[in-house]
Symmetry: C2
Subunit: 249 residues, 2 copies
């Protein structure tokens, strides 16, 4: 493992993507990727710090962790960086009252947020919720604001479910950006602030000390590298081999 | 009218936008803009050639002309350049079999086109038809093609109906462009080929001889000017005054 030794020299913390690395999503809750339950267990027994850094925005952190635990993963809510709770913090800090275009599964993350008389729009991977009517409502809210603020939970182009490829929130973010002539603020990978907040939770520096493992060349690899982190792209099914190497290192 | 005289010197043909210039659309069929029925009548009695150049893609040309005639306009199908019949011609010429993401009202324009085993996607202002499911289907068709071809009937950001602002096809075109990493071909204003086809029907040259009158600064005015035409932007309700001046000229 000489090659790995060189790549991982000095690494103290590992950020792990969830979807496409730990499991493949699907309407039935999806399924763990072969070997990944064991790989996470080994990694957590190693000297490395581990944090899960996801762009999942259809489920609350509680629901996501519950699903992964039922699949056998050793994971707790406090170990997960997810866009919805991160956005909820930003809204509170900036006194923003969102119009929410989000999946029902993630709405609970905004339970403490005032949504009356909205002064911004928050979109997440709403799935079937991206109806024309809902998109038009979000568009009209933005057009009525003097300074339209659009916050997008991630900007992924698409993701894979067991049934096939699915349009992700990024496509709908682009639609609203174009219609309103604005630029969205992205909370989630590949935003540098998002990676930094995950690293801060681990107490690990980006430079030299951290590595991101994900399946998305833009969101995971490109984003992490722009933060000064190392990054590895895995293909589905290749993750367990890689993780075993990291854990052994 | 000295100012008008200078602006219109040499003009032989007038291209008129329809929505926002002749009438405002709406669920009930919309209503003519005050004075515009008379203005069109005067214009057609003048020495100028007239053609209607629209991006309307929710209705067939037949339906649109029927609606306008019932509102009192002197207009016939042969005088209208519309994106759906123009696209239909392009599909035939290039042997393209479209997956259609269009409004039911315009589907008849593609009645003669083979839509089996699609090798391209055509989107138009589908309104409520822009469901997540329909968008995802169009996305999957494109992703399965070796060389994805996306044809968009116009690229408007939004339009105004009696109920308020409505997202237009351009927003959904941008969503698919981003998701697939491709660039759409636009049939409709502001595409130069589209204006040229309208001018050809009139037998009028773009340069010096033609003027476009519309309410959209990008689609109508910018597009026409890039073709070498003169262009005038009207605000809703200002059109009849302007048209009277043109007709008197």
């Amino acid at each position: 493992m000489a090659a790995w030794g060189k790549r991982l020299a000095g690494v103290r913390g590992v950020l792990l993507d969830i979807s496409g690395v730990l499991y493949d999503g699907g309407e039935d809750g999806g399924a763990p990727i072969r070997g990944s339950v064991e790989a996470v267990a080994r990694l957590k027994q190693s000297r490395l710090k581990v944090r899960f850094c996801t762009n999942e925005s259809q489920k609350s952190r509680q629901e996501l962790v519950g699903l992964l635990r039922r699949q056998g993963f050793d994971i707790s809510e406090g170990e997960v960086t997810a866009p919805a709770p991160a956005t909820s913090l930003i809204l509170k800090e900036r006194g923003l009252r969102p119009h929410l275009l989000v999946h029902d599964g993630v709405r609970s993350e905004f339970g403490q947020i005032d949504t009356s008389n909205p002064n911004c729009v928050v979109i997440a991977d709403a799935g079937e919720g991206f109806s024309y009517q809902n998109m038009n409502k979000a568009f009209r809210v933005l057009m009525e604001l003097e300074k339209p603020v659009l916050i997008s939970l991630g900007k992924g182009r698409y993701y894979k479910e067991t049934s096939g490829l699915m349009l992700d929130v990024g496509a709908y973010m682009k639609a609203l950006e174009y219609a309103c002539g604005i630029e969205a603020e992205v909370v989630g990978k590949p935003s540098p602030e998002y990676f930094q907040s995950a690293l801060k939770e681990m107490g690990v520096e980006a430079h030299e000390q951290a590595i991101m493992i994900g399946d998305d060349i833009v969101g995971d690899v490109g984003g992490a590298q722009r933060c000064g982190m190392r990054a590895l792209q895995v293909r589905t099914g290749k993750f367990s081999l890689l993780l075993s190497a990291v854990a052994r290192h």
